[in-house]
């Protein structure tokens, strides 16, 4: 049993048998860095309203997957499909404009720009200034702290606040699917917990979230489904509960065997 979907319209996306087209999809994608074969026949499908995660250790190809989805890296073969359209040849800006947005690893705010400028840059491709203002207000509701810090330099914020701005900046793009690269990285343990609650909250507000994580326990505790990537290959593809219970994952990857 997988957890119920908050968005009933995407119910058929539960599992891979549904008739609905995935929001974002990778079809047997291969990617190379020079001679290094970073992704090997990766198949992923993210449906509207899901909260899914991609797990894997260092150098397993997690970030490469994100880059490929966002168009910052071109796959050597296979297709990246956005809402039924093959977008292999489309630049990042095209995909961002159509609702794919990333929260980068380690937050990576524009440190010398103010919080407001960071948020404005999130909405770079949008021209609907009225709606942008509405979204900005929504972000302030979500993170009152961000509003207090608006004129401050982003680099002077604390780690937790920076995470809020990073998510806020991504939300300013009015995304349909949020790609999160290692949201727990570089945060204090207490903040990690808070951060995952935040992700869940955003997801419950109706946003599709695809996160890439090393912290499998934490990620699976809030995700619906997940994949495990090992040296560029998808080795496991299951619901979160099944993955958590999976012996291979328990033994080798999570390192929880001895507990």
């Amino acid at each position: 049993m997988s957890p119920g979907h908050p968005d009933p319209a995407a119910d058929s996306g539960d599992g891979e048998t549904g008739a609905a087209t995935p929001l974002l999809e990778m079809r047997s994608v291969n990617a190379h860095y020079g001679a290094v074969h970073a992704l090997v026949d990766v198949d992923l499908a993210i449906y509207e309203g899901e909260l899914v995660c991609l797990l894997g250790g260092n150098a397993s190809g997690k970030s490469t997957t994100l880059k490929t989805l966002l168009g910052m890296l071109n796959p050597t073969s296979g297709e990246v499909v956005l809402d039924g359209e093959v977008v292999n040849d489309q630049p990042t800006s095209y995909r961002v404009a159509r609702g794919v947005t990333m929260v980068p690893e380690n937050r990576r705010l524009f440190k010398r720009l103010t919080v407001r400028e960071n948020l404005d840059l999130g909405a770079y491709l949008r021209s609907d200034s009225d709606q942008i203002a509405v979204d900005m207000e929504r972000i302030f509701e979500l993170f009152p702290r961000v509003k207090e810090r608006l004129t401050q330099k982003a680099g002077t914020l604390s780690g937790g606040e920076q995470q809020m701005v990073a998510i806020g900046r991504a939300l300013m793009a009015d995304p349909r699917v949020l790609l999160m690269d290692e949201p727990s990285m570089g945060l204090a343990p207490a903040l990690v917990q808070q951060n995952f609650e935040l992700i869940q909250q955003i997801h419950e507000a109706g946003l599709t979230v695809f996160m890439v994580e090393q912290n499998a326990n934490m990620a699976l505790s809030i995700a619906d489904r997940g994949w495990v990537l090992q040296t560029g290959r998808v080795v496991l593809d299951d619901t979160a509960e099944n993955l958590l219970a999976h012996p291979d994952l328990q033994a080798s990857y999570l390192g929880t065997a001895e507990q």
Partner: protein, 618 residues
């Protein structure tokens, strides 16, 4: 493991405690002598270097305060003073209590300064006994004579120890004084030095305004501020500094705290005032001042262009002179009748349109391969392109077009709608022309900085990968920065061609690129006012690559000074002369907090903004 150590009171096994307990006062002579020796010998080395660079001898003719101090001696006083100040600063920062308050600082400064002066003493002795003229050109009796004030060697040896020690102690004392008095002292020194440096400018202006009597009193007949008037000037400025303490800052804060329409009004008022001064001033100024202003203006234009590329978009372009050259040469070819290949003899303004198009295209052409690189590689490639452009103009291959090393001469004056002709013979008109273009460039830069494009540039500067992930087309955006920079640079080039009346490849050496970059860094990267101030100080006072500044005597040592200034700047004020607020905060925040903590006080330099800032200020 270390965390579980029990708190011990006795001496710890294995490690000795080098620091004395904080509470015990330290006798005045128990200094960190190693540090003093290190700093003193660095300063001594610097002194010898300055002496052997021939700066003192060459600059001895320029009087600062008549008859006491010449620029040549002044450069020998700076280092011991600075070393003493620095030493006092460090000792004071450590905050170790002493028996007599301040004694430590003074003794530290004195010994440091004496060491620095000792460098010159040693040099004087060596100068008498050895002849090293072969590798060191300036190893001469003239230098010895200067060091000994015309006396014997032993006198030089003693006097420089005394002078060095005195300056060092003065530096230490200055650090001891309260901030108010220190500010007054600094203002006094700056006022006298400023009056001396700006002498020719002030005299020139005074002539125009009919105030010769004033300047006659202030300055000695053969240059330099009179001893008595220097004293008077110092007293007046010191008083002003004490009385007007903080007034300026208060006024500024008041302006910055204004909101909305009032703020705009204040800004417009300020701009109009500046514009009025800049328009009226040249009418009363002579040739010299106008020439100087025109040169500064040309570099303001260049620096504003480079500022877009380096300051906003973060592309370190070391070959910016290329666009200056392209602007000059295309204006020359289009307007001059003597242009070797084609000579359309267009009027200057019409030619300018073509020049802009050409410069934009060249910007695209150079930019396209360059912007695919990052960081150091990009800088090196731009450096190469800068030279390539110059070598193309110099080459035999294109000499049929551009005259090779003969250049293009007899470039006509720039006609403005048939109203006036602007040529180098009338620097006032040149200045007005430059001023108009500067105003345009400032407006464009300012609008761009606050536009969507400007924000995209800053995002690319901060983090290119993330900028791309935000959907910014980084390639296009960076190319645009290159093109905007190229166009602004070509304006300067076109005016330069008309002003000088001829163009040669030697006018576009790599040095020009470096100077423009130094101006931008010195003034404050990414800040329009900083860039203008940087040009005024560097080009106006020290002089440009070929243009003399106010301190004509310095032209020989310009590069040395540029380098020293740049190093000092990077160490002491990385945000530039007039930093944008955004940069200071970012570069200084930790440091300022730390300083305040060390002094045990709250820093009052911080404009009075609360940590949270006010959202309404945007």
């Amino acid at each position: 493991m270390t965390a579980t150590l029990p708190p011990t009171t006795g001496p710890q096994p294995g490690g000795t405690q080098p620091e004395a307990p904080l509470a015990a006062p330290r006798p005045a002579l128990a200094h960190d002598w190693r540090r003093i020796a290190r700093m003193g010998s660095i300063a001594a080395f610097g002194q010898v270097f300055i002496a052997l660079s021939n700066m003192p001898v060459r600059l001895d003719e320029r009087l600062i305060v008549k008859p006491v101090l010449s620029l040549g001696y002044l450069v020998l006083l700076i280092l011991p003073f600075a070393a003493g100040y620095r030493q006092g600063h460090q000792i004071k920062r450590e905050g170790v209590p002493t028996y007599a308050p301040g004694l430590n600082e003074v003794v530290g400064g004195l010994s440091c300064g004496a060491l620095a002066g000792g460098g010159l003493s040693l040099l004087a002795v060596l100068l008498t006994h050895f002849d090293l003229r072969e590798p060191l050109v300036n190893w001469s009796p003239i230098l010895l004579d200067l060091l000994a004030f015309g006396n014997a060697t032993w006198f030089a040896a003693v006097i420089w120890l005394v002078i060095g020690g005195g300056m060092g102690a003065a530096g230490g004392v200055l650090r001891l004084l309260g901030p108010r008095i220190r500010r007054a002292v600094v203002t006094m020194a700056l006022a006298v030095a400023g009056a001396a440096v700006l002498e020719s400018l002030v005299v020139d202006l005074a002539e125009g305004l009919g105030l010769e009597t004033l300047t006659d009193r202030l300055y000695a007949r053969r240059g330099g501020v009179n001893w008595s008037s220097a004293l008077g000037l110092a007293v007046v400025s010191g008083l002003l500094a004490v009385v007007g303490r903080g007034r300026f800052r208060q006024a500024r804060t008041r302006v910055t705290e204004l909101e909305g329409a009032k703020r705009t009004q204040a800004n417009v008022g300020l701009i109009l005032l500046t514009a009025a001064v800049l328009i009226v001033l040249p009418l009363f100024a002579g040739k010299l001042t106008n020439e100087l202003l025109a040169n500064v203006g040309l570099f303001v234009l260049l620096a504003l262009g480079l500022n877009v590329v380096v300051g906003l978009a973060g592309i370190l372009d070391l070959g910016y002179v290329a666009f200056f050259a392209v602007g000059s040469y295309s204006a020359a070819v289009l307007t001059a009748a003597t242009s070797p290949k084609i000579a359309p003899e267009m009027p200057w303004l019409a030619a300018l349109i073509v020049v802009v198009i050409i410069a934009g295209l060249v910007g695209l052409f150079i930019g396209a391969p360059v912007i695919r690189m990052r960081g150091d590689y990009l800088a090196i490639v731009t450096l190469g392109f800068g030279e390539i452009i110059r070598l193309l103009f110099l080459s035999d291959w294109l000499s049929g077009w551009f005259g090779g090393s003969q250049g293009i001469t007899n470039i006509p004056a720039a006609g403005i709608f048939g109203l006036t002709d602007v040529a180098g013979t009338d620097p006032r008109r040149v200045f007005y022309l430059v001023l108009a273009f500067c105003a345009l460039a400032i407006y464009v830069s300012w609008r761009l900085e606050h536009s969507r494009l400007g924000r995209a540039w800053m995002a690319v500067r901060e983090d290119e990968t993330v900028a791309e992930a935000m959907g910014i087309n980084t390639v296009n955006v960076k190319l645009l920065a290159f093109v905007v920079g190229a166009v602004l640079g070509s304006f300067s080039g076109a005016i330069f061609a008309a002003k000088v009346g001829s163009v040669f490849p030697t006018s576009f050496l790599i040095l020009v690129s470096i100077v423009i970059l130094v101006v931008v860094i010195f003034g404050g990267m990414g800040n329009i006012i900083g860039v203008i101030a940087g040009s005024a100080v560097l080009i106006g006072v020290l002089g440009g690559p070929k243009q003399p500044g106010l301190l004509v005597e310095f032209s020989e040592f310009k590069l040395l000074i540029y380098g020293a200034l740049l190093i000092w700047m990077m160490l002491a004020r990385p945000e530039g002369l007039i930093p944008s607020v955004r940069r200071t905060r970012e570069l200084r925040q930790q440091e300022m907090a730390q300083d305040a903590w060390l002094r045990g006080e709250v820093d009052d330099d911080d404009g009075g903004n609360g940590p949270a800032g006010s959202p309404s200020a945007v």
